[in-house]
Amino acid sequence: MTTYDESGARLATTARIASHPIHPMLVPIPIVCFVGALITDIVYAVSAEMMWANFSAWLLIVGLIFGVLAAIAGLTDFLANRLIRAQAPAWPHMIGNLVVLVLAFFNVLIHTRDAWTSVVPVGLILSIITVLILPITGWLGWSMVYRHGVGVLQ
């Protein structure tokens, strides 16, 4: 199925508000949260000051919730428009970000442990891997918009 928006764009997104795609509105939130959690994990690993591990726990749970919402919007666009799915970056962008969410889910659970082992070493390692994947999937996502014109009014 191919959907067209009011202007008849071939790569129109399905989850949108007044032609504005929802997915790119949401993705900054998990990105900022997961990068922030890596920073607070590092500060905790250096300081052993519980406040920083608490910050990490909040950042991860908020990042995960908004990440799931962003994924719902993104998957809607991906599944509803065959032409979006056909763009080269689409599949690796989706799979990479699903990996991010799975890692973040386990990281949330690790961060429910008490004190030092809620972060060191497993939580910190998961935070690092998560943040290493984000620039790759982000780059692919930007390619979808800036190079392929997904969601862009023609």
Binding site: M50, I61, L109, I110, R113, D114, A115, S118
Partner: protein
């Protein structure tokens, strides 16, 4: 945080927990861990720790706990509000300390929201009446059955321990030891109390029950102050003077740390033969269904029992940072394991003569019951035989049946006392009852009272 968003958080994580609930958590036979040298399995860390909460259903009309052969049980007082500890006055009147947890501190992390919700299943959520008071049960004809019940002291701050020395009655609120004048026969105290010494209380007040006892000569008071976390997750600064037994001078209120490293010490009592101070201790959670055994121990002056750095002697806990090998080197193991996660909160040495011979000189322990393992443990009162002031033999189940066939909690035992007739009294905080255990065939039977 609104209730509905609380519910969503809880649903989110509980869904994952329930999927694990059917799994065996790999625990061993809990009775293998009773005694002086319990086997300690390797420490585990979890994505989700094993959890099994016994939902509270309460006692139906006529239901009682079960007692072992030769004993008899009946309710002494019902309709109480979360009774947690008991104290027998010299004239035979019984004080029932009804107490609720202090107001929770501000939420520090998402886990506390989920845990708070789950733990609410295990408390008597239906009772919202007045608590934080002491009720006096008076038995005017000496048959052991109270005929008068009065509010003895009201508007207390999450009280737990009580100790009487002469005419001075001490109540250990969660934030202070308060002294009241008491005279034989008083059924109500109206005089305001005097603070003897403040105790570590809020804003964070994780283990809030302050157990209290007086030295045999009456000069000193001993108060148990539980830790402010499971394992330092609220920061070490929250643990000042906590996980300690404090020794308080009764004249001046000055205190010193008598023993430390006791995560949540309760049931402080002097053993009648050796005159040593004994306590039951709730050990740490979330490192396995068989770790760490809760225990009872004689408390040595100046001793360090490990928390938070190590458990059962010198087994270090990797969750504590920075670690303190210097302190771990000093840590001594406790005397007697009661098995893991049984949550002992009450301890009473049997000095009476009403119960059969075999119980004399030994210790009864009230086990509030587990949450941090799949196979429930505790939820009963056990008896540990003693000889020459030391445990001598395996703990035996004395009062059981607090769980029904569906593993729901009809009640949960907490504090214990021996009344003037030599009967064993049990405070049941979610059953809102005080139970009285006597020898079968002595005293008035419940039928005779009708």
């Amino acid at each position: 945080m609104t209730m509905s968003s609380r519910f969503l958080w809880a649903t989110f994580l509980c869904g994952s927990m329930l999927s694990l609930a059917g799994c065996n958590d790999g625990s061993g036979d809990p009775s293998a861990q009773i005694g002086p040298n319990p086997p300690l399995p390797a420490l585990q860390q979890f994505l989700l720790p094993p959890m099994h909460i016994a939902k509270v259903v309460g006692w139906k009309q006529g239901e009682t706990p079960k007692v072992t052969q030769g004993l008899k049980i009946e309710p002494l007082a019902t309709g109480l509000q979360h009774p947690r500890s008991l104290y027998t006055l010299p004239n035979g009147d019984v004080l029932v300390v009804e107490s609720k947890a202090p107001k929770a501190a501000a939420i520090k992390r998402p886990k506390e929201i989920v845990m708070g919700y789950i733990e609410s299943w295990a408390t008597s959520g239906g009772n919202t009446g007045d608590s934080n008071r002491i009720t006096l049960l008076h038995d005017s004809n000496g048959d052991g059955v109270p005929d008068k019940q009065s509010v003895f002291l009201d508007h207390l701050n999450s009280p737990f321990g009580v100790a009487l020395v002469g005419n001075d009655l001490y109540v250990a609120n969660t934030d202070a030891i308060v002294k009241y004048p008491y005279h034989d026969g008083d059924t109500k105290i109206t005089e305001p109390g005097q603070t003897l010494t403040p105790l570590p209380g809020g804003p964070i007040d994780h283990h809030w029950t302050k157990s209290l006892t007086a030295s045999p000569d009456g000069k000193l008071l001993y108060v148990g102050v539980g830790s402010n976390s499971n394992i330092t997750e609220n920061g070490m600064e929250a643990e000042h003077n906590r996980a300690d037994i404090l020794e308080v001078d009764r004249e001046t209120g000055r205190f010193r740390i008598f023993a430390s490293g006791l995560r949540n010490p309760n049931g402080l009592t002097f053993e009648p033969q050796s005159h040593a101070l004994w306590t039951v201790v709730n050990e740490r959670d979330e490192i396995g269904p068989d770790l760490v055994p809760d225990y009872m121990t004689s408390v040595k002056d100046g001793a360090f029992y490990g928390w938070p750095y190590s458990y059962w002697g010198q087994n270090t806990d990797p969750r504590v940072q920075p670690q303190r090998p210097d302190l771990v080197a000093k840590a001594i193991p406790p005397d007697y394991s009661l098995s893991s996660h049984v949550a002992p909160l009450g301890l009473a040495f049997y000095t009476g003569t009403n119960l059969p011979e075999q119980y004399r000189g030994g210790a009864f322990v009230g086990e509030h019951g587990s949450w941090n393992r799949q196979v429930l443990n505790g939820y009963k009162v056990v008896f540990v035989p003693f000889s020459n002031g030391k445990p001598n033999g395996k703990a035996q189940d004395v009062v059981t049946g607090f769980l029904d066939d569906n593993e729901h909690a009809r009640g949960r035992p907490v504090g214990l006392a021996i009344d003037k007739t030599g009967a064993l009294l049990i405070a049941d905080d979610v059953g809102n009852t005080v139970w009285r255990v006597t020898s079968a065939g002595t005293g008035p039977s419940p039928a005779a009272r009708l």
